[in-house]
């Protein structure tokens, strides 16, 4: 960088120019330098630039005491080397901060992806309360007021047996769950997956409790009755006619696949 400057003979060194701009010379030295500068148009333009730059730097460091800013400006001329130290120091600091930050973030991420430890802390407490409340209050009143109101339980109820009594009890259980959830202020998301021998529950031509299914579907918007399309296809093949389902029921591609998917999504699975 200094090559182009050396082209001018008896050109003052950069250090001298900087000191001049910063006003660090005695009056005689200053006069002498000023003469040299004024002798060259190029040099005076350069000094003018340096002045401008100095002003700019001072503006940038306005809240820093002026004296500091100007000495800093002067010291810079000592060479590029010393200027690397702050950036190296900042780099090392950044490395440490980044490492700690990265560690914290991944630790949290690990908790969430495992869905265990983080959830466990809270749930273990909740469980202890469940146990405690059951032990003290006992029986029917036990499980209330244990969980916070903001959470939603996502529950998949898988039914594949043709027992009508079990179906009636399933509907009872769902109603009772919704009642209980309402009293503790918890939200419920329930999906009934009907599959194989249980298909009667949702068959339009042979459903044992079509009115109940209809009224429950209306009463609980977050309750879904879903029918396995593969079972319906099989039944249609066997009976030689299409098998219709109740208007409240929805089709899903496969009951087993749905059960697996929902569990992977964190839903609670219960086989009735």
């Amino acid at each position: 960088m200094s090559n182009e400057r050396l082209s001018a003979k008896n050109r003052p060194s950069e250090e001298i120019l900087n000191a001049f701009v910063d006003g660090e010379f005695s009056p005689e030295d200053r006069l002498h330098t000023l003469k040299t500068i004024s002798s060259s148009e190029h040099l005076s333009r350069e000094v003018c630039d340096m002045h401008q730059l100095k002003e700019l730097v001072n503006m940038a460091y306005e809240d820093v005491p002026a004296g500091r800013a100007s000495t800093g400006r002067c010291r810079l001329s000592r060479g590029g080397r010393s200027a690397w130290f702050p950036s190296v120091a900042a780099g090392v600091l950044a490395l440490v901060v980044g490492s700690l930050g990265g560690y914290e973030i991944t630790r949290d991420a690990g908790f969430f992806s495992g869905q265990h430890s983080a959830a466990n802390g809270q749930d273990a407490g909740a469980l202890a309360q469940v146990a405690a409340s059951r032990d003290t209050a006992g029986g029917a009143a036990a499980p209330q007021q244990v969980f916070s109101a903001t959470e939603t339980d996502q529950i998949l109820l898988h039914i594949n047996e043709g027992d009508t009594r079990a179906m009636a009890e399933l509907l009872d259980d769902i109603e009772s769950m919704y009642r209980e959830a309402a009293t503790v202020g918890r939200d419920l998301n329930v999906q009934v997956v009907v599959h194989n021998n249980a298909m009667n529950l949702l068959r339009a031509d042979s459903a044992p409790y079509p009115e109940r299914v209809a009224s429950m579907a209306e009463a609980y918007p977050t309750l879904r009755f879903t029918a396995c399309a593969q079972t319906l296809n099989r039944l249609a093949r066997e009976e030689g006619k299409t098998v219709d389902i109740l208007p409240q029921a929805e089709l899903i591609d496969s009951g087993v696949a749905e059960a697996a998917r929902r569990q992977a999504e964190g839903w609670i699975y219960i086989k009735v």
Binding site: G91, S99, T106, G110
Partner: protein, 162 residues
């Protein structure tokens, strides 16, 4: 020109620091990502067996599986195992009142801290009382079997339907 380079330096410094933080963060993410997911060793064994059919053979098999489950777990692990009988499955505890073999199996499991829970809704809907069942205490009756299964699973219990 040197002066401009100097002015630009704080910017470079910031950019360099950010880059370093990103790289360092990413590297540690890779380093610690797998380590942090390792499960705690002293985690209790929490399992709930769900029984809702009236099938003595299934009941016996389920309880046998449960014993094997206990035998197969590490000796120092804390067991928190529950059998939740529900719907037609409450017959397990009706049969245990009459069948000495089944009763002793239930007793053996109870001695190992296995708890037998009963769905209160089922008792109501079937007109049963605790005295119809084998040794069911007041606190063994839960209001709603499905609700209890939900709570237990939410609390980290593994769900098994024999």
């Amino acid at each position: 020109m040197i002066p401009y380079l100097r002015v630009a330096r704080p910017g470079w410094l910031l950019a360099g620091a950010f880059l370093l933080m990103l790289v360092a963060g990413g590297a540690t993410a890779l380093l610690f990502g797998t380590v942090s997911e390792a499960p705690a060793a002293d985690e209790p064994l929490r399992v709930v067996y769900h029984i809702n059919t009236d099938d003595p053979e299934l009941h016996l098999n389920a309880l046998r599986n449960l014993q094997n489950h206990i035998d197969g777990s590490p000796a120092d692990v804390v067991l928190e195992i529950k059998v939740l009988t529900h719907g037609s499955g409450v017959s397990l505890l009706q049969h245990a009142a009459e069948d000495p073999d089944l009763r002793s199996t239930v007793n053996t499991l109870k001695l190992q801290d296995v708890r037998f829970l009963v769905c209160g809704n089922t008792l109501d809907s079937r007109g049963l009382s605790r005295s119809d069942l084998y040794e069911v205490a007041k606190e063994d009756v839960v209001s709603n079997g499905i609700g209890e299964l939900t709570r237990l699973q939410r609390g980290g219990y593994t769900y098994i339907k024999p």
